[in-house]
Symmetry: C2
Subunit: 347 residues, 2 copies
């Protein structure tokens, strides 16, 4: 069994003139599109901060405001469907801003011919997920497009949260511990297994879950959380690169300390995927000072909030914003941001 | 030339088991889907109020929070494109809640193969529209789906506004004047003209525009605005029916007092459309007490904020929530909510 492997991404061949799937992959091409098209048009502090959500002030209150569209294919997969994904994803973007999620809106784009029963199952999952996360779905919109002009259901959810503690890449310090909140890769592999008709010995189910409860536990325990990021498109590797670049500091990750469940690791090896790049929907990375790290792990694990939490690395004092990986066999390599599209339409 | 005409809607033939275009038309079938699928799942005051946006309280502040997806086809049309439509539409939903629009988010769903140049034109229109409306685009998200699984660009915009004056269907009173803020139907006919390759003597351009400025002028002048609604999908007829039903009162409209530009009226006659059902993107209906009505019209028309503003009807004292139309030839008929889909993908 190989103990180290190289990521095989499809290298985008299209020029920069045409949208390709990798523009939505959360990696280098997404970043380039953002920098080339969106950032120049909408210049403001909130957008430039490149947080998971915008931090805004409204009448003396500090709020987080975020949006995400969900185009996952297939609509239903082991452990969830597009509905709970759409609620958890936006709830988690708020949580990553240190904000208590309060209100969501949802916008549906439906394809003509969709069975209403499918929509009802998805909406029921949204109801359950919203209840679990303690948020209210206060406004919505439904559009229908002609058959063949969408793919069943697309959902946008936007959310507002009340900032309980300001967090941002700017607060990350040299020496900070990098905490990974649980085993990685289950969401991506669960999606892939349905899409490709793969059967594993042990079924792999999506990790989709709301994350405010563990984040709030850290805040209430007085842990000074510097920065959080959920590990969706592009996985841990891309999230760490984003933060390294935003803060201008290097990060070192110890591959043996990154928690990956055995069935997911096995599936990744068969499929030629690197779990560090596979998308999750209920996992995050947190930056806290090294003195707080052990206590933070215990708090996250207490009362079953998270499982297999790990201190997987630390922030370096180097001004070179590179993410380095000490691999299983002891070598060091650069853990780059995903450059192509490992697995499209994962969320 | 006929002076009265009957609306010819395609009658939906599909059962309630399958999504059809009319479910997104803003009429009876949209309403039924909302009542059958969404309302039972997400029970809360804000959603039940059936406003254009949700009124929420966050830390002592009264905010409006709204969302809309835009799937207009074609992406570009005379007078605008999907980008300024997406900004204006959400700005206007906030304005209709009596809220000063502050912050927007945008979620893009792009189809693989889309020219980046098209996206850039759309984003540039969004920039200009946001600047004009005085809102900041603070957060965004981009997803890409495979070729043939979307239709170029879909955009969701969500918005937050600060409520300056509470307005709602519940505040509408018997005897209230029904004010229409300008000539109707240009947006729908502009879209249709491109889609069907129609040429008119005078080009008809979309009325897409932000509406906070005229609404704010009414508020600042001390006009007690009871309720506002923008006249998008389903047009004036559907908006009036929604409010009549929400408030449980009848409304009488005088067809001769409803402003419609001659080129639009002519186009509607040729196409067999009723301008009262055609979508607009920069027009609204307002309810104020009859004593305030003339002054409200003058304020809206001052400084070119709106043109051809008209008192087009009044709220009846009957508890039967029916909208009645006194037609051009003097007869009375029921002006029902749109039941099919007059023109799909108008916004």
């Amino acid at each position: 069994m190989p103990t180290d492997f190289t990521l095989q991404c499809p290298v985008p061949t299209a020029s920069d003139d045409t949208i390709v799937l990798a523009h939505g992959g959360g990696g280098k091409m997404s970043q380039r599109l953002f920098e080339r098209v969106f950032l120049p048009a909408f210049q403001n502090e909130a957008l430039a901060a490149r947080h998971d959500g915008a931090l805004i002030r409204v009448g003396g209150q500090s709020l987080a405001f975020t949006t995400d569209s969900y185009v996952v294919h297939p609509l239903e997969f082991p452990g969830g469907n597009i509905g709970d994904l759409a609620v958890n994803g936006t709830v988690n973007d708020l949580a990553m801003c240190g904000a208590r999620p309060l209100y969501l809106t949802c916008g549906f784009i439906l394809e003509e011919g969709l069975p209403v029963a499918t929509l009802q199952r998805v909406v029921e999952s949204m109801r359950v997920a919203a209840e679990r996360a303690g948020v209210e779905m206060v406004s919505g919109d439904t559009k229908v497009v002609d058959r063949g002009k969408a793919d069943g259901i697309f959902i946008n959810t936007s959310g507002i949260g009340l900032v309980e503690r300001a967090m941002s890449p700017a607060l990350v310090e040299p020496g900070d511990a990098v905490i990974v909140s649980g085993e990685l890769g289950a969401h991506g592999i669960a999606i892939l297994s349905v899409r490709e008709g793969l059967q594993f010995e042990a079924p792999i189910v999506s990790d989709t879950a709301p994350l405010w409860e563990p984040v709030n536990a850290l805040i209430e325990a007085g842990i000074e959380v510097h920065c959080l990021r959920d590990l969706t498109r592009g996985g841990l590797a891309s999230a760490l690169n984003e933060i390294a670049q935003a803060r201008g500091l290097g990060i070192l990750v110890d591959e043996t300390a990154v928690p990956v469940a055995e069935p997911v690791r096995g599936a990744c090896e068969i499929l030629g995927l690197d779990p560090l790049y596979v998308a999750n929907e209920g996992r995050f990375v947190g930056f806290v000072s090294m003195e707080d790290a052990d206590r933070a792990v215990r708090i996250l694990e207490s009362a079953g909030k998270c499982r297999k939490v790990s201190i997987a690395g630390r922030v370096l004092a180097t001004a070179d914003p590179t993410v380095l990986l000490r691999s299983r066999i002891g070598g060091m390599r650069i853990l780059d941001m995903i450059s192509g599209e490992q697995l499209p339409r994962i969320c």
